[in-house]
């Protein structure tokens, strides 16, 4: 579904991605982790073309993201993305947030979009908040709306860029629960996160990045029990025992 093939990227003299390759099959859940500044967020933003690459190719569902001729907007409409800071539109109601791109991009009618939107808000447990503005919701609720907004486009894959990093601890689970359910339903997911519990429960594979390189890429069980790389052992011991 998603194939990342030898991509590199630098900002001036700083190499943020070096020769990164991995693939995510249909229905697979891949967690990307690593220390901050390792390039995880840049990597996931390359997948829907929010960041360009200097070399290498990325293909999503048969479309080459990195090709010049690709209609990125059309491609992005098929890939859902959830951001660290939610990025809901503050001037619109929750329901309008979920409907905007359905109407403006997919050309659904207003009624169709509202129907779909309410159904998804129901699913993330927020149907009762449809008429509120994002500022009236907690962080966890906002992030669940953001997930509903992305799902409303019927995406072929979902990208999560540190979806719980900006949340208070007591709100993390309500977001992870929605993501776990999504994973169990067979959604193709790429998730940048430090939530190792989530990785253990639903990830098919875990990718570990350090200094712009993918230094470990293996099935979740192996990643946690038999990490091959010294940096991964270090990282896991820090993040799991404190």
């Amino acid at each position: 579904m998603i194939s990342i093939d030898r991509i590199s990227k630098s900002y001036g003299a700083v190499q943020v991605l070096s020769d990164c390759s991995t693939t995510i099959g249909r229905g697979e859940v891949v967690v990307v982790c690593g220390p901050s500044g390792s390039g995880k967020s840049t990597l996931i933003k390359c997948v829907n073309g929010l960041e360009g690459v200097d070399s290498g190719t990325i293909t999503v569902d048969g479309t080459e993201v990195t090709a010049r001729a690709t209609d990125l907007a059309a491609l992005r409409a098929r890939i859902g993305m959830v951001f660290q800071h939610f990025e809901l539109y503050p001037h619109m109601t929750v329901l309008d947030n979920v409907c905007l791109a359905q109407v403006a991009v997919l050309r659904r009618s207003r009624e169709q979009a509202r129907g779909k939107g309410m159904q998804l808000l129901e699913r993330v447990g927020l149907a009762g908040h449809a008429g509120k503005h994002p500022a009236q919701l907690s962080g966890g609720q906002q992030q669940r709306v953001a997930i509903a907004r992305a799902l409303a486009m019927d995406p072929v894959a979902m990208l999560f860029d540190e979806p719980t990093s900006a949340l208070d601890p007591e709100m993390i689970n309500e977001v992870l629960d929605v993501m776990v359910e999504l994973a169990r339903e067979g959604m193709t997911m790429m998730v940048v996160t430090h939530e190792m519990g989530f990785a253990r429960r639903v990830a098919d594979r875990v990718v570990f990045m350090d200094a712009g390189r993918i230094v470990e890429d293996q099935p979740a069980a192996g990643f946690f029990d038999r990490p091959r790389n010294e940096r991964v052992r270090d990282f896991l011991s820090k993040i799991l025992h404190h």
Binding site: A73, R76, M81, E87, L88, Y89, H91, L100, A101, V105
Partner: protein, 218 residues
């Protein structure tokens, strides 16, 4: 203050109202036109395309370095030369105001657009929206809310500036007051009255600005 006779105001009411009508019409049309052109200038400056950004920056800097009264003169004399027939004081003044105000509105709108977090644009892009859709549906509504107080302030300045149209023989409120004052020999009364009217309108405007600023901060 003996001998002040404000009945001159009442007598000249239709003439003064006509002048105020022109002042307000010019102000509102210039705000509308200046904002449309100003938005385009702001988007050009922020487009990241060097020729476009440079042209817009050049426009803004040129216009802002010239006195408004000169811009009004230019369009009064130059536009007829360009199109081969006179356009009249009103239209040449209106064009001049739109051209002039666009430079100021453009800078205000640019600051407003930059006040919208970059993540909002990314969220729009990620959902498949195109550039103009993101500007129209996501960025500009938020930018407008943030910059509304400054826009209204600029509108007040513009309202005062409309008094400059006397140079192309238009009768705005100020010019009408001057004419009455001189014809009737009631300079003190008319100038006090005109000052009072400008004060009332502009003060009401700045109260509005305060309220808008509080709301934008909330």
């Amino acid at each position: 203050m003996q001998g002040l006779d404000f009945s001159v105001v009442a007598d000249a009411r239709p003439f003064l109202l006509q002048g105020m009508g022109l002042s307000l019409t010019l102000t509102l049309l210039a705000i509308a036109g200046g904002m449309v052109l100003g938005t385009l200038l702001a988007l050009a400056r922020l487009s990241g395309r060097a020729p476009l950004a440079l042209a817009a920056a050049g426009y803004v800097n040129l216009v802002r370095s010239v006195p408004l009264i000169l811009v009004i003169f230019w369009f009064y004399f130059l536009v007829p030369l360009a199109i081969g027939r006179p356009v009249g004081g009103f239209y040449s003044a209106l064009i001049a105001f739109v051209i002039f105000e666009a430079a100021y509105y453009g800078e205000i709108i640019r600051a407003g657009i930059q006040s919208v977090p970059r993540g909002q644009v990314q969220a729009g892009l990620a959902s498949g929206l195109r550039y103009w859709q993101i500007q129209r549906l996501v960025v500009l509504p938020q930018a407008l809310r943030n910059m509304l107080p400054v826009l209204v302030t600029q509108g007040i300045v513009l309202f005062q500036d409309t008094s400059l149209v006397f140079v192309v023989s238009l009768h705005d409120f100020m010019t009408s007051s001057v004419i009455i004052a001189q014809n009737k020999g009631r300079l003190v009364e008319m100038y006090l009255f005109a000052a009072g009217v400008y004060f009332a309108i502009c003060f009401a405007g700045s109260l509005l600005v305060k309220r808008l600023a509080r709301r934008a901060a909330a």
